[in-house]
Amino acid sequence: MEKLLEMARKVCDKAEVYSIEHTYNPITFEDAKLHDIESKFQSGISMRIIKNGKLGFAYTKNLLNREEILQNAIDSIKGEVKANYNFPITKELPQLDTYDPLIEKLTSSKMVEECMRICDILKSKTDGEISISSYKYIENIRIINSEGTDISKKSSLYGIYGSVIYPGSASGIWRVFISKKFEKFPENITDNIIELYTLSSNVVEPEGGKMKVIFMPNSMVTLNWRILSGTSSKSIYEKTSPVANKLGEKIFDEKITILDDSLDDRYPLARAFDDEGVKCKPLTIVEDGVLKNFYYDLNYANKLNTESTGHGYKTAQWGGDMISLKPIPALTHMRIKPGKKSLSDLVKLIDRGLILEGALGPHSGNIPNGDYSVGVNPGLYVENGEIIGRVKDAMVAGNIYETLKNVINISDMLYPSYAGEYRVPAILFDNISVATKK
């Protein structure tokens, strides 16, 4: 890496070399039986170079030929992608607890054993089809640049996903649990799956119309995706955000506070620096319903005459191979401030309504505009504060800039969502459009 950086410095003004190595071991149980064990060892190197304000970018998996990757980067400069920013000088980062060495000792046998244990619990208490998967993930990232930055981090992640599927569908109740090391799947989570599954095993066909709807953490991605679109510096620059001119204005109900906190290392995957080597700090997006900040990477910060907020990540809407991606503005550690009610208290507040346990098609529709229109996957129907069954064919639709003004209450629990880095509560909204067959 150092040698590649050295070579790059000789032919251009600024350079950055990014390397990632990770191992990933997933195990899946389908229909309560062991189905698959896989293993992945992946590595890769990408580089950005800047010459006369123009960007070059290249990547490879095996650094067999330094000249080739450098040449690819130099060739791509000819396209004249503008880059009037500097790579950061980043030193003295906070020490975050992101890696637990115990993860190295976790064997596949032990993971299989834990999956079996959960299968047995869920199987003995429901009549559903059981699907469990667990994985361990270890990641090393290092960034060096021509300004003298040399930073790295190592993270560990153990995750487990448990679901009970209504027979005859592929839809069900699921929960994830993640940690920096192996931990038993908490009993309150299995209890929660069993309770919701049992309460919703009857199929009901209610009439549609405007009603109260709880967006559960699993379906909050529907709203999050549109919040991310509206508050990204990329959307501001491209003039596709409906809230571009609303900084300091109240855009949501005052109960809504949204922030990004990648330094919070109580949870796995905390970050002290982003994928451009910029120091991370907590950022408030919405406070008591008032729009406070947009999030920036180096590129869009430069275009909009401001500073990066440490939100440049090598990510894309559909994942993709990290090494091949250029950083873009991304909000990776979103937290929505919890309320004080338990989930069952929220349910009691519903005269007639729906619990949107999971959403089908959150990625479809007019995202820049904030519109959503999702299928229920599943939807639990509530009357007079009680869950009376599940709805199969229904759609929940709205616009987040309306929906998030209609907050009745927010649950007190935070739950991992979106690859585990987000922590969100369940939120009860009023007056949401639900279309059904009646």
């Binding site: 389908e30 229909d31 062991l34 698959d36 064990i37 896989e38 293993s39 992945k40 060892f41 992946q42 890769g44 070059g56 970018f57 990547y59 490879t60 998996k61 095996n62 990757i69 690819n72 060739d75 791509s76 000819k78 396209g79 992608v81 596949s108 046998s109 089809e129 599927i165 005859g168 569908s169 592929a170 990329k234 491209e238 596709t240 409906p242 559909w318 993709g320 091949s324 999971g358 089908l360 098609g361 959150p362 990625h363 479809s364 529709g365 007019n366 505009n369 519109d371 229109s373 999702v374 299928g375 064919d393 229904a394 759609m395 929940v396 639709a397 616009n399 459009s433 279309a435 067959k437």
Partner: protein, 454 residues
């Protein structure tokens, strides 16, 4: 290369093993509005090793040749761990061990066209929407993905195949006050750079749809009978039906598997569905899958009766059904899974005018944007549509998302058009991305679809 791969396989002590090595070459040109944001060509590579031992199957993905020894050991350990913990040993359906080298015929090899020429062409297309005042921005991606695949197995298979995909994915965003509308533009295919040429008309047409949508009305939520255009019909076929023709999805869902038994009558009499990856020059074309099995056209539904299924060697053995050659990986980062190649409803007898007359009142919805399925329920969006009254096309509508139940909907497909269009660019995400996922069909009428509105 084969020699190196054979050396790795020789270290495996198992009943069966195979290894795939791939070099993946990508070239991209991305525009965001007027700005070029990414351009360049890159090459990456890696290995996927699969081991079947004592009835346990496991795979290891690795990038460094120096990791091959630990990959072999890990794969064997994991296969044995699986074998120890399952009741029914995993078997592979028999297949012929093929030795072949296959490079597709191209109309203009994209590798022989300079990146500068590609840049100029994409810029020319991008300038079309941007010349209109009410177009807020455009996102145009040109991508070229070349997979040079090497596959060998301990049964003696030895296959070299190249998959060359060119694709143009664009989004045109119009704006009026605080209202944004977006439409997609697509081009590309499996048979060379010519699929990217002459797209000016395509960009003009999509731009005018984006502009017209600013004046369209949001659709009212409710239950409608709908005409779906070929792209919507294709997405329905792929999302709602196709995924449950993939044996690995229903393999472990006993109740679903029961419903999807061969011979069950699931659809309306007019419905015939096939997956044919061998149709020449279409996006989903390939010759061998990533288990070295030659792909076969597979009739999935005939006159509404389920007649076939898409398989890997593992699922074909499990279901005791014929292998179909549909076990495909995104690239060297993944072991293969069951995928559709080119799925479509076969054309019927009705002209578009006849479909309009048959429908009477309802909606005409066009061009999918996003779709998802969970078991029997599906949801997907349409980019735009029209109200139909008394068999006549009326005003334009927007914000259309439809939802339905697979089994009810298959019976509610009541008429099939006589036209036929296949998709030019794909992106099916089933844990891994399949950019050659191809679907299409004729216009069709589906009754009783839930439309979400906004």
């Amino acid at each position: 290369m084969f020699e190196k791969m054979r050396k790795i396989l020789s270290k495996v002590d198992a009943d069966y093993s195979d290894i795939r090595y791939e070099i993946k070459k990508e070239s991209v040109v991305y525009f965001r509005g007027k700005e070029l944001t990414k351009i360049g060509s890159n090459s990456t590579d890696g290995y996927v090793l699969r081991v079947l031992k004592n009835g346990g199957l496991s795979s290891v993905v690795f990038t460094k040749e120096s990791d091959s020894e630990s990959a072999v050991n890990t794969a064997m350990e994991n296969a044995q761990l699986i074998a120890k913990n399952i009741e029914k040993p995993i078997e592979f359906a028999q297949t012929k061990a093929v030795k072949d080298v296959f490079t597709p015929e191209l109309k203009e090899d994209p590798r022989k066209i300079s990146i500068t020429e590609k840049l100029e062409l994409i810029k020319k297309y991008n300038d079309i929407p941007l010349s209109y005042k009410k177009i807020a921005t455009s996102n145009i991606d040109y991508e070229e993905v070349i997979r040079e695949k090497y596959f060998i197995s301990t049964e003696g298979a030895e296959i070299r195949e190249d998959l060359i995909t060119t694709r143009l994915l664009g989004e045109i965003i119009s704006k009026d006050g605080n209202l944004f509308q977006n439409v997609r533009v697509r081009a590309g295919g499996s048979n060379g750079f010519s699929t990217i040429r002459d797209q000016e008309g395509n960009f003009e047409e999509r731009t005018s749809i984006a502009l017209n949508l600013l004046k369209a009305k949001p659709v009212e939520a409710g239950l409608y009978n709908c005409i779906l255009n070929p792209d919507m019909a294709g997405v329905f076929t792929h999302e709602a039906f196709g995924h449950f023709s993939e044996a690995d999805i229903i393999e472990t869902l006993p109740a679903m598997r029961e419903k999807m038994k061969i011979g069950n009558k699931l659809g309306n009499d007019v419905l015939n569905i096939i997956d044919n990856a061998l149709l020449p020059d279409q996006l989903g074309f390939y010759k061998y899958d990533d288990e070295g099995v030659k792909v076969h056209p597979t009739q999935l539904m005939k006159n509404g009766i389920l007649t076939g299924r898409l398989h890997s060697r593992r699922t074909a053995a499990e279901f005791n059904e014929p292998i179909s050659g549909h076990c495909v990986a995104e690239d060297y980062r993944y072991s293969p899974i069951v995928r559709m190649g080119n799925i479509f409803i076969e054309p019927g007898e009705n002209s578009f005018e006849e479909l309009l007359a048959k429908l009477g009142d309802g909606l005409y919805i066009l061009d999918a944007k996003g779709g998802q399925t969970a078991g029997e329920n599906f949801t997907f969006g349409a980019q735009y549509g029209y109200v139909i009254k008394n068999g006549k096309l009326g005003e334009m509508i927007r914000d259309i998302n439809i939802s339905g139940n697979l089994y009810k909907t298959l019976k509610d497909i009541v008429a099939i058009g006589n036209d036929f269009v296949l998709s030019k660019a794909g992106a099916c995400g089933k844990g891994q991305l399949n950019i050659r996922s191809c679907h299409g069909g004729p216009h069709i009428i589906i009754n009783n679809l839930i439309v979400g509105g906004v």
